[in-house]
Symmetry: C2
């Protein structure tokens, strides 16, 4: 599979010659969704996979804007002008002819793709088509009919079809024989005309998030798609799945154009510390704010993923701060509500267990260099994760059951740690060797 | 470097035809050092690097013993009998002729090698020689004189020499032309004769632990070498480097033949829990036992590495149990010595900080898939590691300064965590991209 990475073409042609009339005549590729120009998303995601040169084909009117975009965003490649955009997007492809050699990726400036989609699509050949398009307006979409892995018909109005054209292609220069001929024969030629004539092979990439943007309504839809698919999920507990994420994605949807993940981490930490401090005056309010902070805690990650601004340090800092908010909340709630050494002993065990839940997971990653949730399935369903603990805190504090809360957390968390260790032990018989080899190979590469 | 792994020969010939007269006439390869037959150590270490077939050449007397060894230890390969061991170890090599093709490793059953040595040596060519032999009795050693990367003279008594023969060779079948000729011409032929005649190329692997075993005294020396080089070091604090390790290696030296790392982890945990419980009756004794447990804590790892019994789960369990011993010690010491909510608040912060020191390190590994001590050098010198905290606990509790102990730990640990995060943040600018690529490549391989 390592080889597949090097097979990804190093050049991409992006068609951006449309006038975006339904958008009020704007260069659609430069519109921002989730804080970034649509075209910049595609360029970043392709760059991750080894594409290093980008040819943007646009019209004379938008040429300066795209040139400026490439300069400020530091994108390698060039802007080419199609002086006859009225001749169709097939002609825009033709215009790129002199600027590519070998194989290349062809895609559209006004399509919003997820990382998952692009990662699969670059490995395909010919037209990338989707048999399970989830976010696309099928009425508006270009459909394709395939036979034996090749396009036999394509268009918006065709009656029989198998899949939807994703606007993503992996081509080589032989396509220009077709564009050459069509350019001679026809005044206007759509990309669909080129595809049909060339009888392109089809690769199916089904059900992964992508969509095209034609109207202001589509912009909102794209934003929603990016936020919804930015939920990490792995490691989420019951409360997170059924409550917190529903609210956090709503918040993220409204913030994603304006707020970066770093600021959000800071706000979340501040709210968390505030909730802990509130225990000194009014624990019930503190508990409610703590639960609200637990919802907010999902937002920075969602923003980061939707905006393509994830960073390892961001995730690292977020985890450390979460532990401190939890520790501080427990410590100050105890300070206000508990007396007597025996109860403090229970509080200390509860605090220890709370941090140990996270430690036992992270130490696993540190040892095996793999996410325990990937290899130990039951871990996902074991209770005691942060979202669940916070929710329990809110409910029990509101009911005035502070001491039972500490008792319950002391038991729940430490039982979870014991179960984690037990599952790791059971698992270690089968994975130890495989993982040892993996790590060894990694070490080799680091040298 | 990945390629180099696949270049390691898949066969190894191990010479074991000597009678071990200075050992009281025993098959030396089957003597145990650090809980394992010497020859089994070499076989395990070579197996890790891809060697999959082993040819043991022995005499008629020891043939049954080595055959039985291969069967019980599940070693792939065969035992070959040299019916004329009196003709020398050069002749033993010659006997293996019909059983190897292409390139192969040649080594000695009575040599004890460290993993580091073997990892380097398998990448060499010809005779592996050591210009900085640390554990070898130079008077007894076979020396080599090299010119332009080839052996020009070899022997125990030669006057001029550059390096010591390590008993490890990477050869190919062309060596049998030399053995063939010598076998015809001479009655007795040592391996040195073969090396000299063949003018073998030399690869230097300098200063890494290895030694040969001739006498009972050598057995002790080898055991000491394996225990000493089994100290992990990385992540050790000041107290560990200057006190704990000196004692733990002494303990390990005396236990390594008899006790496995798993039992040692259990004993260490039990002693730790006992030290925590002792706080309820006599804190000074508890504190001393806690420091003793901190010394013991190094032993299981040393035993595991010396005995080649390391396991990821073992390391994982050990870390989890350490956190619980620390948490329990703090909790029970507080239970016995502290009253008043404010002091308990400080105790809670101290407990939180103690676990967070480890969490911040492990979460870093989980995020970056790399050991923070490898990439953030100042972390090694920041105080607040476990060995230092335990020592501080002992000193302050013995001085009756329990409350200052909690205050100091509360500050020290959390400052260390803050410093760790700060260093990770500073570091993230330079490593983020590199590590992202690394992780991406890893993912590819997992598929």
């Amino acid at each position: 599979m390592l080889q597949a990475v090097s097979e990804v073409p190093t050049k991409a042609v992006i068609l951006a010659a449309g006038f975006g009339t339904r958008m009020g005549r704007k260069p659609k590729g430069l519109l921002r969704v989730a804080g970034r120009e649509i075209i910049h998303r595609t360029i970043l995601l392709l760059s991750e996979l080894g594409v290093s040169e980008f040819i943007i084909v646009t019209n004379e009117e938008y040429s300066t804007a795209y040139t400026e975009f490439m300069r400020t965003r530091n994108v390698k490649g060039r802007v080419i002008t199609n002086r006859h955009p009225e001749r169709g997007n097939g002609y825009s492809l033709h215009v790129a002819k002199r600027h590519v050699t070998g194989s290349f990726i062809l895609t559209m400036a006004d399509h919003v793709y997820s990382r998952d989609f692009i990662r699969e699509a670059v490995r395909g050949r010919g037209l990338i088509a989707d048999r399970g398009a989830r976010f696309v307006d099928i009425g508006e979409a270009t459909k394709v009919k395939t036979v034996n892995g090749r396009v036999v018909d394509i268009g918006k109005e065709i009656r029989e079809w198998d899949a939807v054209d994703t606007g993503f292609f992996v081509l080589d220069v032989s396509i220009f024989k077709t564009t050459e001929r069509l350019a001679r024969e026809k005044l206007s030629m759509s990309l669909s005309d080129v595809v049909r004539e060339a009888k392109l092979p089809v690769t199916f990439v089904d059900g992964l998030p992508w969509m095209d943007v034609d109207t202001p309504e589509d912009m909102k839809k794209a934003r929603r798609m990016l936020v919804r698919t930015a939920v990490k999920g792995r490691g989420d507990g019951f409360i997170s799945r059924h409550l917190n994420r529903k609210i956090s994605t709503w918040i993220s949807y409204h913030l994603v154009e304006h707020v970066g993940p770093g600021s959000m981490t800071a706000v979340t930490f501040a709210v968390g510390v505030l909730s802990a401090l509130l225990n000194l005056w009014f624990p019930p309010l503190a508990a409610v704010l703590y639960q609200f902070d637990s919802i907010l805690d999902g937002v920075d990650g969602e923003l980061a993923r939707a905006r393509l601004e994830t960073s390892k340090f961001g995730g690292y800092l977020d985890s450390i701060l979460d532990r401190y908010v939890d520790g501080l909340f427990i410590a100050l709630l105890a300070y206000e509500s508990v007396s007597g050494s025996l109860w403090y002993l229970i509080v200390l065990v509860a605090l220890l267990g709370s941090v140990m839940v996270s430690y036992s997971t992270e130490r696993f990653k540190g040892a095996y260099f793999i996410d325990p949730y990937d290899v130990i399935k039951p871990l996902r369903y074991l209770p005691g994760k942060r979202d669940e603990r916070v929710f329990i805190a809110m409910v029990l504090v509101l009911l005035g059951l502070v001491k039972p809360f500490f008792g319950l957390i002391a038991v729940l968390t430490n039982v979870r740690v014991a179960a984690t260790v037990y599952l790791a032990w059971k698992r270690s018989f089968t994975t130890e060797n495989y993982l040892m080899n993996m790590k060894y190979l990694m070490k080799e590469k680091e040298v």
